[in-house]
Symmetry: D2
Subunit: 345 residues, 4 copies
C-alpha cells in the first residue's frame, strides 16, 4: 500500500500538537475543562472569530452534533437537513436517540436552499406534526461542496424569519475557510447569523477534538450540563485544551493546515483533469469525487486506499479521494503517475 | 500552591504513553477503532484477563457507564445502585437520559450487598414497576472501599439467580487490583460472573480512555452501534488504541501505575495516622477521607488542593485526599510536614 | 352544515357499544385490563383471527404505533416506512421521541414494495448507520390503497429473510378487510407473517380503542410493561374491554360496520363517477381522493366538511371524502345532488 | 365476593356521564379535542377554578404525569418527589423513559416539606449533577394524607425562590377538596402558586379522563404537541369532553361525588375505630390503612377485595381499604359487621 486517500483522519496529530502535549504534561490542572489550556484555547478561538461567543471543547463530531441539536430542541421540535447530511446517514440514529426527528430534504449537491426551509415550515402547520426548529448545514458539505457567504446569509434570514435556528457542522471547516473556491471566512460565521456551529479539529490536525461555538447568547445557558449528561466532559479536559491552544495560538496552525490540505487537493484535481478524469461534481475543498472504470478502480486498490462512493454506470463507479494536512506532494504525484499508467492501459 | 490532591486526573499521561503516540503518529491507519494499535491493545487486555472477551475502547467513564447500561437494558428495565454511585450522583442524569431508572439503595460504605439485590427484586413484582435488570457496582467504590472476591462472587450469584446482570464501573480498577487491602485480581473478574465492566485508563496514566470488557457473550451483539450512536467512536480511534497498547503491553504499565499510586496512598495514610488524624473510614486504595478541624482545613487550602467532602460536626469537616501515579514521595512528605505543623498550632 | 365527510371519527360509538357500557357499568371489576370484559374481548378477537395470539387493548392509534415499535426495536434499530405513513407525518415525532429513526421510502400509492425493503437493507451495512429492523405498513394506507394477500406475503418474506419484522397499522383495518377491492381477510393476517399489528376500533365504531395483536411469540414478552410505561394502561381497562367485547362478540359488529362503511363509500364513488369527477387514485376503501375546481370546493364547503388534501393545478385541488359506519345513504345522496348542481353551474 | 374495596376505579362511570355520552352520541364533531363538549368542559373547569388557565384533557394519570413533567423539564433537569410518589414507584419508569431523573426524598407521610426542597437544591450545585426543576406532590398523597393550604403555599414559595415549579398530581383531588380533614379548595390551587396540576376524573366518577390545568402561563406553549407526541390526543376527544362537561356542569357532579366518597370513608373509619382497629395513620380522605392480624386478613379475603400494603409485625399486616363514589352504605355496614364477627373470633 503506497498511500491512503480514504479520509482526513488516517494520521495522528500535527507534530506541534504532540509537542504541546508533552511540554505541558506534568503540570497539575483542574479537571473537566476548567484548566488553563482550555481557557487559553477559548480565548484563541474567540480572537480568531472576532467575538467572545461561548466556546466548548468536545471529542468528536457526532458527539458535537447531537449535543448541540439536543440543546436547541424541545421534544416536539425537529431539525431540517439535506438527505446526504452526516446526521441523517452516518451517525447511527444519534439525533433520533435524543428524541428528535430529522426532516429530510433531497439535495443534489448536499446543500440546503432557503426555499427548502420555507417548504418544510409550510408543511408543518399543526400539532399532528413536529415543529421544525433548526436548519442543519455542513461546511464543507458531505459531498464536498461549499456554501457562499450570500447563501448562508439567506439561509440564516429565512430560518430566523420563521423562528428557526441555523446550525453548522464544521467538521471540515478548516478546508472550507481556506479553499479558493469559497468566500466564507471563519470570522464571518457569527456575523452571518449562524446560531451555533463547531470548528473541526480531528480532520484538521488534532488527535481528537471539536470546538463548539455559540454566537446566539440565548442558547448558551447550562450548556456544560448537556456536555456532562451526554458523556462529553473529559476528566482531563486539558487533552482538548492543549490541542486547540496549539491550533489557535499565534501561529494560526489551524488555518495553515487547512491551506496545506487544499493545496494538495488542488494539485490532485489539476492532475486528474489533465488525465481527463471526469468529476461527479467540481471539487470545492479536499473531497474529490471522480468517475473511473471499475477495472481501473480494481487495480488502483492494490496500492491506494479510497472509498467507492456509488455506482455510476454498468462499468463505472464514483470513488472519493481525500487529502489531509499530512498529504505530501509526492503522495499526490505518485497517485497521478500510477493512474496515468493504468488509464493508458 | 504546592500540590493538588484533588483527584487522580490532575496531570497528563504517563510519559511512556506520550512517547507511543509520537512514535506512531504519522503511520496511516483505518479510522474508528479498526487500526492496528487498537487491535494490539485488545489482545493485550485479553491476555491480562486470561479470556478473549469482547473489548471496546471509549473516551470517558460517564460515557462508558451509560453506553454499557443502555446496551443491557430494555426500556422498562432498571439498574440497582448504591446511593453514592457515580451514576446516581455525578453523571448529570446520563443514565436517565437514555430512558432508565436507577433504583437506589442506601449504603454506608458505598457497597451493595446480596440482600440489597434480593430486596429490590422482591419489591418490583409487576408491570406497574420497572424491572430491575442490572446490578451496578464500582471497584474501587466512590467512597474508596473495595469489594472482595467473595463479595463479588455472591453478588454475581444473586444477580444471576434472578436473571440480572452484574456490571462493574472500573474507573479506579487500577488501584483496586493492586491494593494490599483487596484480594481481587484483574484476571478474576470475568471468572466471578461480572457480565460487563470497564478498565479505567484516565485515572491510571492515560490522557483519556476506558476499556469496556464484555465477558458475557450474550451482551456483545452490535455493541459498536451503541458506541457510534452515543458519540463514543473516535475517528482517530488510534488515540485510544496506542494508549491501551502502551498500558497493557509487555511492560504491564497499567499494573505498575496502580501499584505506584497505592504506595503513595499507603505512605500518606501511615503518616496521617502517626499524626492521629481520624479517618471517615479505613482507606482501601487511593482515596483517603479524613476528618480535620475547619480552621486547619482553611489553612491547608493555601498550599494544597483537595475536595471538602462533607460536614462532620460544628467545627470539623471531612476532606478527600487522592494520590495518583504522578504523586511523588516528596509531595506526600511535604503535606505531612505542613499538616503536622498546622496541627501543632 | 349538512354533513361532515372529514373522517371516520366524527361521531361517537355505535349504539350497541354504549348499551354494553351501560349494562355492565356498576359491576365491580379488577383494574388495568384484568377485568372479565377484556378477557372476553381477547377471546373474541382470537376467535376472529383463528389463532390465540397475545392481544392488548389501548386507547389510540398513535399510542399503539409507538408502543409497538418501541417494543420491537433496540436503540440503534430503525423502522422503514412510506413517506406518507402516519408515523412519519402525523404523529408529531412520537416514534423518534422513543429514540428511533424512521427510514423513509418515497411511495406514490402509500404502499411499500419488497424492493424498497431490499434497497434500505443494502444501504445500511455498518455501525455508522442505524439497523433497519421493522417494516411499517398500513392497511388501508393513508392514501386509501390496499395491500393484497400476495403483496403482504412477499413483504413478510422479504422482511424475514433479512431478520426484520413486519408491522401493520390497522387503524382502518375494518374497511380494509371488508372492501370488495381487497382480498385480505382478518384471519389471514397472522398466517401471512405479520409479526405485530393492531385492529382499529376508534375508526370503526368504538368511542376509543385499538387492539394490538402479536402473532410472533418472541415479541410478546413483558408487553404490559411497555403499556404501563408509555401511559396506555387505563385504570378502568373495562372501557376498552366492554367495547371490543361488543365489536367481536357473536354479532360480528366490527365486520358489519366495516361493510356498512364500504357500502356508502362505494355508493359515493359510483355517484361521483357518474358526475365525471376525476379521482386522484381509484378508491379501495372509505377514503376518496377527488379532484375538483377550487371554485366548486369553495361552494361545497358551505354545507359539507372535508379535508383539502393538495393542490392539483392552478385552479384545482384534491379533496378527501371519508365515509364511516354512521354515514347514512341520504348523506351521500344529498352530497351527490348538491355537487351535481354545483358542477352544472 | 361481597364487595371490592381495592380502589376507586372498580366500577364504570357515574350514570349521569353515561347518559351524556348517549345523548350526544350521533352529533358530528371535529376530532382531537376541538369538539364543542371539550370546549364546554374547559369553560366549566375554568369556572370552578375561578381563573381561565389553559386546560387539556387526557385519558389517564400516568400519562398526565409524564407529559406534564416532560413539558416542564429540559434534558438535564429533574423532579423532586417523595419516595412513595406514584411517579417513583408505580409508573414503570415512565418519567425516566422521557429522560428525566426523579430525585427521591424519604417521607413518612407521603408529603414533601420546604426543607426537603431546600436540601435537594443545595445538594445539586454544578454540572456533574442534574438540576432540580420541579417539585412533585400528590393531593391526596399515595398514603392518604392531605396538604393544607399553608403547606402548599410554603412549598410553592420555596420552589419559586429557587426557580423551581410546583406540580400537583390530582388523581384523587376530588376527595381531597371535599374532605373535612383538609382546608384546600379547588379554586385555591391556582392562587397558591401551583404551576401545573391535574384534576382526576377516573377515580371520581369518569370512565377515564384527567384534566390538566396550567395556571403558569409560561408553561402553556405548544402543549398540544406534547399531547400528540406522547399518544394522548384521542381522535374522538369528545369522549373526554362529554365526561368533564358532565362533571363540571351546573350540577357540580365532580364535587358531589367527592363528598359521597368521603362520607362512606368517614363511616368506615368511625366503624373501624369502634372495633378498636388500629390505623397506620389517621385517614384524611378515602384511603384507609389499617393493621389487622394476618389470620383475620386471610378470612376477610373470602368476601372482600383489598390490597395488602405491608408487613407490620410477625403476625400482622397493613391493608388498604378504599371507598369510591359507588360505595353504598350497606357495603360499609356489611364489612364492619363481618369484621366485627371475625375479630370476636
Amino acid at each position: 500500500m503506497k498511500h491512503l486517500f480514504y479520509d482526513d483522519y488516517s494520521e495522528g496529530a500535527h507534530p506541534t500538537i504532540l509537542e504541546a502535549l508533552s511540554k505541558t504534561n506534568l503540570e497539575q490542572q483542574i479537571g473537566y475543562g476548567e484548566d488553563e489550556y482550555t481557557k487559553n484555547a477559548i480565548v484563541g478561538i474567540q480572537k480568531a472569530l472576532g467575538v467572545d461567543s461561548a466556546v466548548h471543547l468536545v471529542s468528536a463530531g457526532t458527539q458535537a452534533n447531537f449535543i448541540c441539536l439536543a440543546s436547541m430542541l424541545k421534544s416536539y421540535e425537529a431539525v431540517i437537513a439535506a438527505s446526504s447530511a452526516h446526521i441523517n446517514v452516518h451517525e447511527a440514529g444519534a439525533v433520533e436517540a435524543t428524541g428528535h426527528k430529522i426532516i429530510v430534504v433531497e439535495s443534489e449537491d448536499g446543500k440546503l436552499k432557503p426555499e427548502d426551509v420555507e417548504g418544510v415550515v409550510a408543511a408543518h402547520p399543526d400539532e399532528h406534526m413536529v415543529v421544525p426548529k433548526v436548519v442543519f448545514i455542513s461546511q464543507a458539505t458531505e459531498l464536498g461542496s461549499l456554501y457562499t457567504k450570500a447563501e448562508i446569509t439567506q439561509l440564516a434570514e429565512t430560518a430566523h424569519k420563521h423562528g428557526l435556528y441555523l446550525y453548522m457542522d464544521g467538521a471540515r471547516l478548516g478546508v472550507a475557510v481556506t479553499s479558493q473556491s469559497g468566500d466564507l471566512q471563519l470570522s464571518d460565521i457569527p456575523n452571518l447569523g449562524v446560531d451555533m456551529f463547531y470548528i473541526g479539529g480531528t480532520k484538521n490536525g488534532a488527535l481528537c477534538g471539536e470546538a463548539i461555538v455559540i454566537p446566539n447568547s440565548q442558547l448558551q445557558d447550562h450548556f456544560r450540563w448537556y456536555l456532562k449528561q451526554y458523556g462529553a466532559l473529559l476528566a482531563k479536559g486539558r487533552l482538548l485544551g492543549v490541542q486547540f491552544e496549539a491550533l489557535f495560538g499565534d501561529s494560526q496552525l489551524w488555518i495553515e493546515l487547512g491551506k496545506k490540505t487544499n493545496e494538495q487537493a488542488t494539485r490532485l484535481t489539476d492532475g486528474l483533469k489533465k488525465l481527463k478524469v471526469q468529476f461527479m461534481q467540481e471539487p470545492a475543498a479536499n473531497q474529490l469525487f471522480i468517475i473511473l472504470p471499475d477495472t481501473i478502480i480494481e487495480k488502483l486498490k492494490a496500492n491506494y486506499g479510497f472509498h467507492i462512493w456509488s455506482k455510476q454506470s454498468e462499468s463505472e463507479s464514483v470513488i472519493r479521494l481525500v487529502t489531509s494536512w499530512a498529504t505530501e506532494p509526492q503522495n499526490v504525484n505518485e497517485l497521478l503517475t500510477d493512474l496515468a499508467n493504468l488509464l493508458k492501459g
